[in-house]
Symmetry: C2
Subunit: 316 residues, 2 copies
């Protein structure tokens, strides 16, 4: 039977890839997308997916209530987020409100209306915070030790999910999604920002150039957004209620190496210029996850290599 999806953060790149995933796999779906700004992508011409869009502020609980009551979703995917760690240091209040408070509005509305839909609560690898090498790769039972305002907001969101799952028996599945990369990601994020700088160098016909960056020694676990949305679909269909799942590649790579790989793909000799204003007050040096839980339970595995992701980012 055709399922109804309510997607917050509809205009973002994860939402776009999620819809693509459904359509490419010929999964029939009715999607109601909510966001504060209209998507830049076309959402009217999918084959198996019917999308409609509603401009709204998720801080407005009355609006959420009206929409959910009317739409009666089977699934809610909460993608709306100010997911930049750097931004959260600059605007911690706005970041917190637009992560934790809007999520709580959503949960409370679902509870209040007595909806029985499944909710996918998207969390972040940033929740783990500073970890020591012997704890890598991180499993889901590793203690959370957030070191940025963004990470605290995500931990609070996960804790609220547990409260509503255990206290009110809402059907919630949680993720800790590691660093997404892939086509259409905004330049406010590190990898597309660097890709953009390198493409500018290329456009000017040069074979060497500067990349302005903060701390490029940090090691992260990058996972292609197209693999991420496949995991989200699997979790909506078969994830265990009240459980949290890492979504990651299981491999760590430094930001420096990512920049160098992109440079070599474009035949550009890269000179990394350190910009102190881009260095965060506090940062986790290394984050690598274990995807054993989701792999074992649901058979999900990342399919796209880092190189493939970077080729697609540079070629888009």
């Amino acid at each position: 039977m055709m399922k109804k999806y309510f997607i917050t953060g509809f205009s973002g790149f994860v939402s776009r890839h999620f819809i693509d995933y459904l359509d490419k796999n010929e999964i029939e779906a009715a999607i109601l997308g909510a966001d504060i700004t209209r998507p830049e992508f076309q959402f009217e011409n999918y084959k198996s997916v019917k999308c409609s869009y509603r401009e709204m502020n998720l801080l407005n609980q009355d609006d959420i209530k009206k929409i959910l009551q009317q739409f009666q979703p089977d699934y809610i995917i909460h993608l709306a987020s100010y997911s930049s760690v750097a931004y959260s240091w600059k605007q911690p209040i706005v970041s917190f409100r637009n992560n934790t408070n809007i999520f709580l509005n959503l949960l409370e509305t679902v509870h209040d209306l007595g909806l029985s839909c499944r909710i996918l609560s998207i969390g972040s690898s940033e929740e783990y915070g500073n970890v020591t090498a012997e704890n890598l790769p991180l499993k889901e039972d590793h203690p959370l030790n957030p070191v940025s305002p963004y990470a605290v907001a995500r931990v609070a969101q996960e804790l609220l999910s547990r409260i509503y799952s255990n206290g009110y028996h809402l059907d919630i599945v949680m993720t800790r999604s590691f660093n997404h990369i892939g086509p259409y990601q905004k330049n406010t994020f590190a990898v597309p920002a660097f890709a953009n700088q390198l493409l500018e160098v290329k456009k000017r016909g040069l074979n060497q150039g500067d990349v302005v960056a903060g701390n490029v020694d940090i090691i992260r676990d990058y996972v292609d957004v197209r693999d991420v949305v496949a995991a989200y679909y699997a979790l909506l269909e078969s994830g265990l209620k009240g459980e949290v799942y890492n979504i990651c590649s299981g491999k760590g790579i430094s930001l420096k190496t990512v920049i160098e790989i992109m440079g070599s793909m474009l035949n550009i000799k890269v000179n990394i210029k350190k910009e102190p204003s881009l260095i965060r007050p506090n940062d986790n040096q290394i984050i690598i996850g274990s995807n054993q839980k989701i792999a074992t339970q649901l058979g999900w595995k990342p399919r796209l290599s880092l190189e493939q992701s970077l080729v697609d980012i540079l070629g888009k």
Copy 2:
């Protein structure tokens, strides 16, 4: 030298006892109190303490900024809170906003203004959540596992304190304060609510009566508010920056026993009537803390016995 204290939640009973503590100990202090409602107690006639009051909503960041810039406090004691677990289940959004968001406003304002004041961040034993008997009494390094919306808000507050302490080097000392009891506490809390019901029975000249209650088997660690404020003063003066301290008696007692002790103090035979609507969706069965850390570091110990607290509550 006389210190300046900015106290949020000025109209509450903890604030009142804190001012009493300073004044009784002849500690010279200038206090600026902020709250959304005017205190019911007289605050103009202390000897060594000069108080002024400002009616304000701590969700309004502009107001906070103006006031802190003008007052330039040495200490901020953040007592403003919707500290009822029961209320947080009924109004999770309001509870969260009035706990976590106002605290973040305060931190961000202190950071933004570059103030070097010490901030006392009041947390709660509720942050520990469900624990097993072998982990009692709870030490500060025990993992946090909140089981109510209120507790999540308190954990988020503590995590934000750590972010601002580690990332921005703000001078923050944190507490996990266990169940306060004592004179002037509002009847929305369990112990004064039961005291009130028993005093009503007494007033009608009866020697037995009903007490309407939720789950009275839960075991809590009660600490007199007058001991709590002594701990707060000690932490402001000598607590270690960035550290968290339990404030507790170290002893556990069931709510049922508390009711029975009060009944026997009033010579009333108590019949506890269970009211299902007062039972929370999820509750921690037992919470007992260790006060070893604050005792060892600062020499603080609770001085008032539970019986003394209950006598004073009934006699006020």
